[in-house]
């Protein structure tokens, strides 16, 4: 068995990615806070404020409620572990480390699992506010995922028709992308799906309309109400990682182009340059979907959000998927 190729290099790559993405996603949070502050004509915190916040939370006393059971302590760790594991399947400018046939299911599963662990941690705390937040999180989660799953499966199936060696793999986007299909119908479909994915991304990272489970003003921070100290720091880091990962998916599907071909780079340097360029694209996408969306809208009610996700986004996903699939079906 090839120990180096199968174990050492993937582990090293995963650790490297974890280090990089932690820094990049926390940095983005700082940039986002600064940008939103400037949009409201405030100065905003320094760019590395999330790092200070993280260190401060890490050094604070962690309080565990009397009513909490063991999952309250386990959930933040498991959520972060899931997010780190997810990095191995996330396309970040290059084919994911663990890319294999059909790993899109793993990606979707792990992404949903992060929310699931947050819910489990919240309902284990014994606080009724956290339970309301958990109920909302679960409601939004089941409403947002079908639209994304339908769209991503349709896209992967359509790209698989163009001929790839590993169908339904997260690496597929770097072999073909949906703009290559080239018919007017597929182009319109891709635009509609871009809309679907932007809304999905906003609901995944809970900004703007979808800042419902953590609604500070109504249910006192919702899911996170009982968390403090180290556990809160882990959950905040998980949230930042998740934002980066979810945005990475959208970037990989719709804007997978790299710049290494123009510089004739190969091997490791190509991967590094692609990763940096990918990070830039993620930041630009998050600027539109997170910062601007957060600055211009308030949140919806939970019933309105469910209505919006099913009647608007899911329908758009259906239409877009059909348009993408059209010339193969007919």
């Amino acid at each position: 068995m090839d120990v180096m190729g199968n174990i050492v290099y993937p582990v090293a790559g995963l650790l490297g990615l974890y280090g990089f993405v932690s820094l990049a996603s926390l940095l983005w949070e700082g940039i986002d806070r600064k940008l939103v502050a400037r949009m409201q004509r405030r100065v905003g915190p320094p760019l590395i404020q999330p790092f200070y916040d993280f260190l401060k939370l890490m050094s604070k006393e962690t309080i565990v409620p009397n009513t909490a059971n063991y999952m309250f302590r386990a959930a933040p760790v498991l959520a972060l572990a899931t997010a780190i594991a997810l990095l191995a399947y996330t396309p970040m400018g290059f084919t994911p480390i663990m890319a294999s046939k059909g790993d899109v299911i793993v990606f979707i599963y792990l992404l949903a699992l992060i929310s699931f662990f947050k819910i489990v941690g919240a309902i284990s705390s014994g606080s009724p506010y956290a339970k309301i937040g958990a109920a909302r999180e679960a409601t939004v989660m089941v409403s947002r995922e079908p639209a994304m799953m339908l769209a991503i499966f349709a896209i992967m199936w359509r790209l698989g028709k163009l001929g790839v060696d590993k169908p339904f793999s997260m690496g597929i986007f770097y072999q073909h992308n949906i703009w290559e299909i080239g018919t007017p119908m597929s182009f319109v479909g891709a635009i509609i799906l871009l809309y679907v994915f932007c809304v999905w991304l906003a609901s995944e990272i809970e900004v703007g309309f979808f800042n419902i489970p953590d609604a500070e003003e109504e249910i006192a921070e919702g899911l996170l109400v009982e968390y403090s100290g180290r556990y809160l720091a882990l959950l905040k880091l998980t949230k930042a990682l998740k934002a980066y990962i979810a945005a990475s998916l959208v970037v990989a599907i719709f804007f997978p182009w790299g710049i290494t071909d123009y510089f004739n780079l190969t091997g490791l340097s190509a991967d590094v340059v692609n990763l940096l360029f990918h990070t830039l694209k993620v930041f630009i996408l998050l600027f539109v979907v997170e910062s601007v969306f957060r600055a211009v809208t308030g949140r919806l009610k939970i019933t309105q959000a469910v209505d919006f996700l099913w009647k608007n986004v899911f329908l758009a996903s259906l239409v877009g998927s059909l348009l993408i699939a059209m010339e193969v079906i007919m």
Binding site: A37, M39, R41, R42, V43, V292, A295
Partner: protein, 142 residues
């Protein structure tokens, strides 16, 4: 949905300078002319008429009958300026000082008339009294 109308505003704001005052780095926003800040007490002008004790809603003043002055603790002050308006001699006035944070409620800056000063006035009064009595005694002797 009415949200998109905010997008141009938000993006325009992004290019503008922040409309804030970076306080510890710069001067605070200047106070207006009739600003009611920290209360100042001029002991020498005070005649001990007790008007401020009557009018104060927060109980800042305590009358000291032996020296005919008032002791005051401005940490309780609500900055209503009634004592200033009612004071016949102008011994009380509002300053424009407003950075009054302190670690200690009994900080010196909240007590314009200190204990030592009170003692000093008391002694002075005593001396005056003695001087008067001596003068009286002398006058009687003659």
């Amino acid at each position: 949905m009415r949200a998109p109308i905010l997008v141009p505003t938000v993006l325009r704001n992004l290019a503008r300078k922040p409309a804030t005052n970076l306080f510890p780095k710069t001067e605070p926003v200047p106070v207006p002319e009739d600003f009611r800040g920290q209360l100042r007490y001029n002991v020498d002008k005070c005649v001990g008429c007790r008007m401020c004790v009557t009018v104060c809603p927060a109980g800042v003043f305590v009358y000291l009958p032996d020296i005919r002055k008032v002791a005051l603790w401005t940490a309780r002050c609500v900055y209503c300026k009634q004592c200033v308006d009612v004071c016949p001699t102008g011994a009380l006035e509002m300053s424009d000082e407003f950075l009054l944070a302190s670690y200690d409620n009994g900080d010196d800056k909240f007590i314009p008339l200190k204990e030592e000063k009170i003692e000093e006035i008391r002694r002075k009064l005593e001396e005056q009294k003695k001087a008067k009595e001596q003068a009286k005694a002398k006058a009687e002797k003659k």
